[in-house]
């Protein structure tokens, strides 16, 4: 470009005369769309794929889910089968992750633990979303007095220290898979309800919604094309981030003695059981559950971060 310019400065007389005629206008030429138009979800997926950490998290979670389903079947051992003569075996070809104080196979128990942790985390998060969407949706959609009262209730509940209430509930009801999930969700939905309400309030006033309606857009199309992309983002992100906090809470509760009881083996229970063992050098009994708790939380966290960036309509380039 620069050379052409310089050339022109010095030798405009060399430019052929016939170039000084009106150009035939190609009407379509100026309207070329420079990039293929992707749907919101395709675009989000494209951006998520570029985020290496988020993809690492996603791959880990896929593998973890696979192992949670098939892991226990890959060994000849039963999850709670005690084998006292073989206690504290170091990891070997027999016992890939070693054995614990009762001679139980840590590998088998780890994948059982994955089932429990993922189940608790996912179910608690789903229930949170479910209640949160209904409560927040009604509050935001109705507005006015209803909204005011519902929000006061939220404000009051928000002050309740959730883990304390959870502990209290578990003490009273006795720890089980059901009560843990109940105890976690009884306070967990509040944050989600706030987010949903905020989203609903926002979109109610969005000009493009009004515009689309006034152009006679179909309701279903409006919801799919405009509302979903702009509301689902924060909800999905919040959900991804509430899974690890549920997993953490479950492990924490197990650790203070309010965890899921036998015959289940959650990661928190395994970690708690092996506290005494590690000081005597049997590191593997703690290492594997601890590693998988941490890595699962890590995976959900980085995936949540990645989704947050990928789903943000403002960041769309």
């Amino acid at each position: 470009m620069k050379t052409a310019e310089v050339e022109a400065q010095h030798s405009s007389s060399k430019i052929p005369d016939e170039w000084f005629q009106l150009k035939e206008k190609d009407k379509n030429a100026s309207e070329v769309v420079s990039r293929p138009s992707l749907s919101y979800w395709q675009d989000a997926w494209r951006r998520l794929r570029k985020n290496k950490m988020a993809m690492l998290g996603l791959v880990f979670l896929v593998i973890l889910s696979f192992m949670a389903i098939f892991g226990p079947v890959m060994t000849p051992y039963e999850v709670n089968k005690q084998d006292l003569p073989n206690q504290y075996q170091a990891p070997s070809s027999e016992h890939w992750f070693g054995t614990d104080s009762a001679g139980r196979d840590v590998f088998t128990r780890t994948w059982y633990g994955a089932r429990i942790s993922l189940f608790v985390g996912l179910v608690a998060a789903l229930i949170d979303v479910f209640i949160g969407i209904i409560y927040g949706g009604i509050s935001g959609y109705k507005g006015g007095r209803t909204d005011n009262i519902m929000m006061r209730i939220i404000e009051i509940l928000y002050g309740i220290p959730s883990l304390l209430v959870t502990i209290l509930l578990l003490v009273v009801m006795g720890p089980s898979l059901f009560t843990i999930i109940l105890a976690l969700t009884i306070t967990g939905w509040v944050g989600m309800a706030r987010i949903v309400r905020g989203q609903v309030l926002q979109i109610k006033n969005y000009e493009y919604v009004l515009a689309s309606q006034s152009f006679g857009g179909k309701t279903a199309r409006i919801i799919r094309k405009h509302l979903l992309p702009n509301t689902m983002g924060p909800i999905i992100v919040q959900m991804t981030l509430s899974v690890p906090s549920a997993i953490f809470a479950e492990a924490f509760l197990s650790f203070i003695g309010l965890g899921i009881q036998s015959p289940y083996a959650s990661w928190g229970v395994m970690a708690n059981d092996s506290l005494g063992a590690i000081l005597s050098g049997n590191w593997w009994t703690l290492f594997f559950p601890a590693f998988f708790i941490s890595f699962t939380m890590f995976a959900f966290n980085v995936l949540g971060d990645g989704l947050q960036d990928a789903l943000d309509p403002k960041l769309r380039k």
Partner: protein, 312 residues
């Protein structure tokens, strides 16, 4: 005037929240077998007499409830069932100062180091230091504090003997528990500081400050940091709650004779009055901390629309 109304309103909400917690606690305790309120009470006669004196157990439930509310409002949390001649207040008096010390050192350490990490990350955006500290932060968020604590004990105390293993008697004893407890909150603060700092640095008023010819130092600390710290203040309540519950496990692991340790013991022994009393006490503590945070926020952010808070 606005400020006063705002504070009164927040106080009212705090009291309602507290009342709900106390009521839930009472209802739960009435329903659970083996609690002081149930029919199958303790067999120990001394304990039985204490309970009777404190709760008027033969009155109808609503009278017991009113008495319970009255006792709590007088800050009297009742006797323990498992430890005769001990009241919940005795236990709290012994244990809480230690837990409070642990918690305060932790929160100060977490805030200072988290903010510093966050600023460094933001100023070196996409640089090596940024990646390092954010990698560290993601790990800090992902590794539960009780796992960190166990790891610290095994490696730093037992294997390498850098630090004493347990109890709470000298500054060296405090290093590991505080580190284990502070890592999570520190990581959260660091990430939050970084992201708000990055956002603040793109604001027009930062450009304006640069256009005035101010030094980078002044721009960072006078103009950017103040605004970037606002969100950090708002999550202080949540962080405090996390640290408080964290003390339960940390004190257990490090054998620190704080309230958290007593609380976990009372859970395992099903010492219901202690569980109830501690829950109510901790809830009160946290609710008033939240209130304090809100008021501090109202003071440091001149923009805050006091009467609209919480609604939006």
């Amino acid at each position: 005037m606005d400020m006063l109304r705002y504070m009164l309103r927040r106080l009212l909400i705090a009291l309602v929240t507290l009342w709900i917690i106390v009521t839930i606690t009472f209802i739960l305790m009435v329903t659970v077998p083996g609690s002081p309120f149930s029919d199958e009470r303790s067999s120990n006669e001394a304990v039985q007499a204490n309970l009777e004196a404190h709760y008027n157990l033969d009155d109808p439930y609503y009278m017991q409830y009113l008495l319970y509310l009255k006792n709590i409002s007088m800050l009297d949390l009742g006797p323990s069932i498992k430890q005769p001649n001990q009241t919940v207040n005795d236990l709290l008096g012994r244990g809480f100062p230690i837990s409070f010390e642990l918690g305060m050192i932790t929160i100060i350490f977490a805030v200072v180091s988290g903010v510093v990490l966050g600023i460094i990350s933001a100023l070196r955006h996409n640089g090596v230091l940024d990646y390092l500290s954010m990698g560290f932060a993601v790990l800090g968020i992902s590794i539960p504090n009780f796992i960190l604590a166990t790891l610290f004990i095994q490696k730093l105390a037992a294997d390498w003997e850098f630090f004493p293993v347990a109890t709470w008697s000298s500054p060296m004893h405090m290093v590991l528990p505080v580190a284990a407890l502070a890592t999570g909150p520190m990581a959260i603060i660091a990430r939050l500081t970084r992201s708000t700092m990055l956002e603040v640095l793109t604001q027009d008023y930062i450009k304006m400050a640069r256009a005035k010819g101010l030094s980078p130092w002044k721009i960072t600390f006078k103009h950017a940091l103040r605004n970037a710290l606002m969100p950090v203040v708002t999550i202080m309540g949540t962080l405090l709650a996390g640290i408080l519950t964290g003390t339960f496990v940390i004190e257990q692991i490090f054998a620190i004779p704080g309230m958290g340790k007593y609380f976990v013991e009372s859970i395992n022994q099903r010492d219901y009055p202690v569980i109830m009393g501690t829950t109510v006490f901790y809830s009160t503590f946290l609710i008033f901390m939240l209130l304090l945070v809100d008021i501090v926020y109202g003071i440091i952010d001149p923009r805050i629309k006091l009467h609209k808070k919480g609604g939006e």
